[in-house]
Amino acid sequence: MEFLLAMTYKEIAVRYRSALLGIVWMIINPFFQMLVIGFVFAFFFGIGDRYSYFLYLFSGLLPWQFFSQSLLTATQAFVQERQLLQKAMFPLEVLPLSIILANFFHFLVALMLFVIFLLVTGNLEVRNFLFLFPACVALFVFTFFSALLTSTLFVRYRDVRFIVQALLVVWFYATPVLYAITVLPPQFRFLFIVNPLSSWFEMFHSIILPQYGVTWDMLAANFILLVFGVTLSLWVFRRHRFSLVDWL
């Protein structure tokens, strides 16, 4: 446990070691991405009310940023920290977990600022605010177990990183980040049902919307896939745990 905390602290400390503004970067980066994409969509595509679309976008991009960044960096956790693995045996899952915890901390800070902003500008949908909690937990669990799977596979199969990169590009558009589920023609709605991320993203969106797109069938399907993902990830990790070091 102490080791996990030390590693998480290390992740955060190393990242901002040489950055003068430190914690400010945490906020600047997602802000700029929101600005650029919001600009593109609001002006070139002309979707609805610009201001609220900005908020809609931000409530989706924030968790997406956390998910994609975590998965990409944590995939390389074992390979990058091979120095540590050459010293002593320790619970290996600490390595991806510490990366994700560090990212999660960033995410929560940004989310908190966003909620405060919504509260001040009167855009917060207080009724749906509580949805943030299950959404955060489910997103964290899903991110961790996805990363545990990809980082384990990456030790042996170095093309996993490219597979993850490619997958994330497709996944981004198959998740309600940029647009609501209702925008899609009904024949594509199954995409959201089989995508284990969609319910949680709809929940994130719901803090600024009076209505939300989470339906029971989608929630059930997402939850089953989540459980399946966790099981698969644990199974692969347990099988390879003891041979991982030999491949580094």
Partner: protein
């Protein structure tokens, strides 16, 4: 035996080497096959508290694999390993360190890896820093360190962990004569001060390990046998002669 720290019973280690590269796409289509390589075969070894052991053998003999198994870093393919007490390893100079963290932060990271608690490390911090004796570098990131400094820091943390068994692998190969001389003195002084600490030292050069041990083994192609100190002495003389002839230096 009650003071038995470490015991290997017919320990073997097999590595599977990927042929055709590590590719998941290829793996799924059955385009890769693994080739087996036995790094250790049928190793028996017991080490008692305070015992000093040295293993000599050429590159690729399995020395590092043996230490890794003793440290618990990797597991044997067959055989039984029993370890009682705390083991600290110095296998690579940079193992257990992060290049971007300062010396002080690395002490914490390294100590936690060796099984110390945070409170214990904080308490021993001053002693570790004094022992490592790397001056103001303790506040600089590790990538600014020379190999000698990395060694001293790693060694200081390992000794501070009050380990029962210290594992050391080829610590001298990176350095020049001056570095080797200082390191050797450092190790000998520590061994004198910690009589109860057992150790295993590995090297491909018998001269490096002669003064650190009383029990000697020769490891070659994964098989190990016990040898006498006289045998080590003879190896040193023979090696010197071969060295000279290899480089055409008259005796």
């Amino acid at each position: 035996m009650s003071d038995e720290l470490l015991s290997f019973r017919s320990v073997s280690k097999k590595y599977s080497l990927p042929h055709g590269g590590g590719s998941l796409v290829k793996g799924l289509f059955g385009l890769t096959r693994d080739a087996d390589f036995w790094a250790l075969q049928d190793i028996d070894l017991t080490i008692a508290a305070g015992e000093r052991v040295a293993i000599v053998g050429p590159n690729g003999a399995g020395k590092t694999t043996l230490l890794k198994i003793a440290a618990g870093i990797t597991t044997p393919s067959s055989g039984r390993v029993r370890v009682t007490g705390r083991v600290a390893s110095l296998i690579h100079l940079e193992a257990g360190f992060h290049p971007d963290l300062t010396g002080e932060e690395n002490i914490l990271l390294n100590g936690l890896l060796l099984g110390m608690s945070k409170a214990e490390i904080v308490e021993k911090r001053q002693r570790i820093i004094a022992f490592a004796d790397i001056g103001q570098f303790i506040d600089s990131p590790l990538y600014t360190y020379s190999d000698g400094m990395k060694f001293r820091l790693a060694f200081a943390v390992a000794v501070a962990s009050e380990c029962d068994l210290l594992l050391m692998d080829e610590l001298f190969i990176t350095g020049d004569l001056e570095f080797q001389y200082k390191t050797a003195q450092f190790i000998r002084a520590t061994q004198r001060r910690n009589q109860k600490m057992a150790s295993i030292v590995c090297s491909h050069r018998p001269v490096f390990i002669r003064s650190f041990a009383t029990t000697f083994y020769a490891l070659d192609k994964g098989r190990m046998r016990r040898v006498s100190p006289q045998h080590i002495e003879k190896m040193i003389t023979l090696n010197n002669r071969r060295w000279r002839s290899a480089f055409g230096v008259p005796a």
